[in-house]
Symmetry: C2
Subunit: 246 residues, 2 copies
């Protein structure tokens, strides 16, 4: 079976620290440690590495805002991340059923569709679209800043509903009289511009998970184009893939 | 239909700039402008906004490393992003078929599995796993830094193959004699720690798209756990969702 034998390459110390940080990050998210992490000696034993490597890994997680460290209080989990599904199309309120999602409506107006928005919603360039910007809170902290473009007929009816507490998806289904069909989405990691960072209560340049999502009704008509900036330190998107298309 | 009428809210200037930046970003990625963007007056007319707003939007895109601006040369696209699929489980080489993917193998060794790695690969804690770290290039620039843990039987055989040019997925299928089945994945946006940033040729704190992926064989056995740090400015993950589980 062997073709070319590669000499095993040793693992450098900084690489080792990253390796530990990655595993710790997911153990923390998975709730393995509750709110407090074991001490450095225990972690060093668990990972079979030096305490220096553990310290370097914990420093990286602290920079990510995932843990707090203190000389006497030890290492604590700063905040738990929330999981958002990549398998089924769900709104935020539907995803976090039972937890308090609150929307601050920052803009809600009819505007002229920019060309690429018009194209994706199958409208004429410059046609009216309803633009809604919401800052979404889960608990006390902002989770995401959502910009939404809706086709004018559905958008006008959406504006007549209270947007502070509703997800848009069920509203769109109620207004259109049909279920949503599918969505195409694009996910990117981008740095927060200063203005978005301030709104999301983050330092400038903080990593955002940016979701662009075009949603169609069951009949195939595209009705809802969204640009969702999620705080990188608060959201994980999770899903499943298969090797071949189902 | 109306329950509570919300007074339409005006759109603030900084919000407007973000709105323009988001649309421009996706027009650029879509190739709408080729390598050179229209001038500020043309963009202002296209978006029906002031030149100040266009300037603010372009400044944000410049901060993201997406465009270059110069006093005489105008605005140019700095680099085009690559699309990576969220619908089907494919390796990098398979995704970018025909383009040159090159791997720098930074580590390849058998190590003791950290507890959470062992748990996910259904091994005993401390059992041997094969750890591989590769820096993956598409063209001249790094695209991602991949850390891979393989179950020992498959990992040992993988180490006997040249990893500079091969994707792991086809190797695993060849070695195990069966196709891969599915993968569960988690996507996050995280800031690059200093060491990873240096390796990926990015400034410290740059936004990374972090993919954790656990892949199973067709028979359901988990064999491959990966932590993939993708440069946020080079990769977009794309996929489709349906409203209900298929």
């Amino acid at each position: 079976m062997a073709e070319v034998r590669i000499a095993p390459q040793p693992i450098r110390r900084a690489d080792r620290a990253r390796q530990v940080a990655d595993v710790l990050r997911h153990q923390i998210h998975g709730g393995a440690y509750g709110d407090g992490l074991p001490g450095e000696p225990e972690l060093a034993a668990e990972f079979v590495v030096s305490r220096n490597i553990i310290r370097e890994a914990l420093a990286a997680l602290q920079d990510e805002g995932l843990i707090h460290r203190g000389p006497r209080v030890g290492t604590h989990v700063a905040q738990h991340k929330f999981d958002h599904g990549l398998d089924v199309l769900l709104g935020l309120q539907e995803t976090f059923d039972g937890q308090e999602v609150r929307n601050e409506v920052r803009a809600a107006a009819t505007i002229s569709a920019p060309p690429s928005v018009a194209r994706r919603l199958l409208l004429e360039p410059g046609a009216p679209v309803v633009f809604i910007e919401r800052l979404r809170y889960l608990g006390d902290l902002p989770l995401s800043l959502d910009q939404t473009y809706l086709v004018p007929d559905i958008g006008a009816a959406v504006l007549a509903h209270p947007l502070e507490t509703n997800d848009l998806f069920p509203l769109i289904e109620q207004i259109s009289g049909q279920p949503l069909g599918a969505a195409s989405l694009a996910l990117e990691a981008i740095p927060a511009d200063r203005h978005s960072a301030t709104i999301l209560q983050l330092p400038g340049g903080a990593a955002l998970l940016m979701l662009e999502r075009l949603t169609t009704l069951a009949d195939g008509r595209p009705v809802d184009l969204e640009y969702i900036r999620m705080r990188g330190d608060r959201v994980t998107m999770r899903g499943n893939l298969t090797r071949s298309t189902p």
